[in-house]
């Protein structure tokens, strides 16, 4: 679906009040950094009529009030900001952390390891080694509160989503598709394959900081066994620890 004639970034409209500054049609490090930096820039501008902003894997989303700020005016302001610099060479956010999150791969806790490994052309043991060795970065939060998209995994993990939704994966489920992990903050249906299970609670409404992971943080999903994971369930962080990245 790559269209080589398109030049990124592209500004698109969606819905009656949404604009997207899109830095690519596939996940890439430069596009992800551009999305994070562009969102920070829009927030710094503080334009009247902008209701909220958010960054996704490769885009910055802007919701505005079209009843008071016409589409063409808003789009022109965005175009000027887009042209102001090369967003693809933006630096990562500061204050990043390196997390280690204990994970049970496979077993009845994560029943799709075998089929995901097969799709990636690996044995189950090779898949566990590949996934637990990978140090991935939080590229965006989304889907559910505090829930990260993480990447990028080795090329073998460029496997598609399932054609049918899995009815429900539990909170803390680690799922894989298209060279990315998603770590579930809630129990929800998904089209991704459930390869690991953690005990982390990504969204803690009662806590001072309800969201655990932030875009830019790095994560390794270290392998553990079911008994150890069970012991970690009393800890809202599910045994996860972090150190600052210097």
């Amino acid at each position: 679906m790559t269209n080589p004639s398109l030049e990124y970034p592209i500004i698109r409209t969606g819905g009656v009040d949404g604009l997207l500054v899109n830095f690519g049609d596939r996940l890439s490090e430069p596009a992800n950094r551009a999305a994070l930096a562009f969102r920070a820039a829009i927030e710094a501008e503080g334009w009247d009529g902008v209701e909220e902003t958010s960054s996704t894997l490769v885009s910055c989303f802007i919701r505005f009030d079209p009843l008071h700020l016409p589409h063409d005016v808003m789009k022109a302001k965005l175009e000027t900001l887009v042209k102001g610099r090369n967003w693809f060479d933006a630096a990562l956010p500061t204050g990043r952390r390196y997390w280690r999150i204990p994970t049970v791969y496979g077993t009845d806790l994560a029943p799709q390891l075998a089929q995901a490994a097969a799709a990636a052309g690996m044995s189950e043991a090779e898949a566990v080694t590949s996934l637990s060795d990978a140090r991935v970065r939080v590229q965006a939060l989304g889907f559910a509160p505090g829930q990260p998209y993480l990447g990028e995994l080795p090329k073998a993990w460029d496997i598609p989503r399932q054609s049918q939704l899995t009815e429900r994966v539990p909170q803390g489920a680690l799922v894989v598709a298209i060279r990315q992990f998603v770590l579930f903050g809630v129990s929800a249906p998904t089209g991704w394959q459930h390869v690991g299970q953690t005990a982390i609670k990504l969204f803690q409404p009662e806590a001072d900081e309800p969201i655990l992971l932030r875009p830019g943080d790095e994560v390794q999903f270290v392998a553990t066994d079911a008994a150890s994971l069970n012991n970690m369930r009393s800890d809202p962080n599910g045994g996860a620890t972090y150190e600052m990245i210097k």
Partner: protein, 341 residues
Amino acid sequence: MSAQLKILRAGPSMTLQDMGRPRHLALGLSRGGAMDKLALAEGAALLGQLADTLTLEMAALGGEFEASEDVRIALTGAPMRVSIDAEAVVWNASHWLPAGARLSIGAATAGCYGYLHVGGGFAADPFLGAASAHLSAGIGALLQAGETLAIGTDTGREINRVIEPEDRFHGGAIRLTPSFQTHLFGKAELDRLQAEPLHRAARANRMGVAMTPQGGGYYIEGGRNVVSEIVLPGDIQITGDGMPFVLMVECQTTGGYPRIGTVLPCDLPRVAQAPAGAELRFRFVDLEEAVELERAEAKRRAELGKSCRPLIRDPRYMRDLLSYNLIGGVVAGNEELEEVT
């Protein structure tokens, strides 16, 4: 002490709702709030208060309630069978609920989501700026029998007013704007979406409403490998098997299944209230027209108070109705009810 409403019997899916929590997309939290936000505006108009007032949302079935003090109530959204101390009262109207009287709300007779508003609104602790339940995010919970809901201070006085609701309880025409992925779909599929009626499937909740297309699933090349992108309420998501879902108030904030279009916010109540099997006909409008439609709807909702009129009650007639009910157990049709339903 402020008034309270005790829940004596609870339908299976009752929550407290308001206009939701916008501006938390960056955390991964969708805005939530009432499924039918027009119903909030109608209730607010009847009671003379703000639309963003905490209200009780009831999916398909109501419950039984008792107030600790005299309170004003209003009933909007999907019409449901309702009585106060076994005396039938009118939906889409405001009433006096005396202390200790039994408010009984039954099944919806059309549509899906009914709303019970109280003067002053329900009072609950806010989280991230709102007190409404967002079940898919783990905020708040379904209401249960035995719970007592606090009611805020009511500064209004008007009761016995009735509003003519927009008839949105049977499906119908739904207008769309392009979504962030509409360009990925071919012309044939976009034409088909606007030519064939879709039927609301059985699967529906506050996250999304499944649709059954007559001509089978919608096709998109490479649709299972699209990079995850922002999701907006009203987006029509095409899952891997081609089935369309209209994403609703508790939807995910990002998703990788492509969206073929986005329902206009002013038409979302019609999707929310479409009962299973109802026919929906989708049509794209251009962005300028969409903005003008939203502008007109915002103005109409702000002026709903003007369209409320007095609910005529005849004491002799009410007694007759009461005896009817006690004898037959069935409320007969009558002028007042026919006038507004």
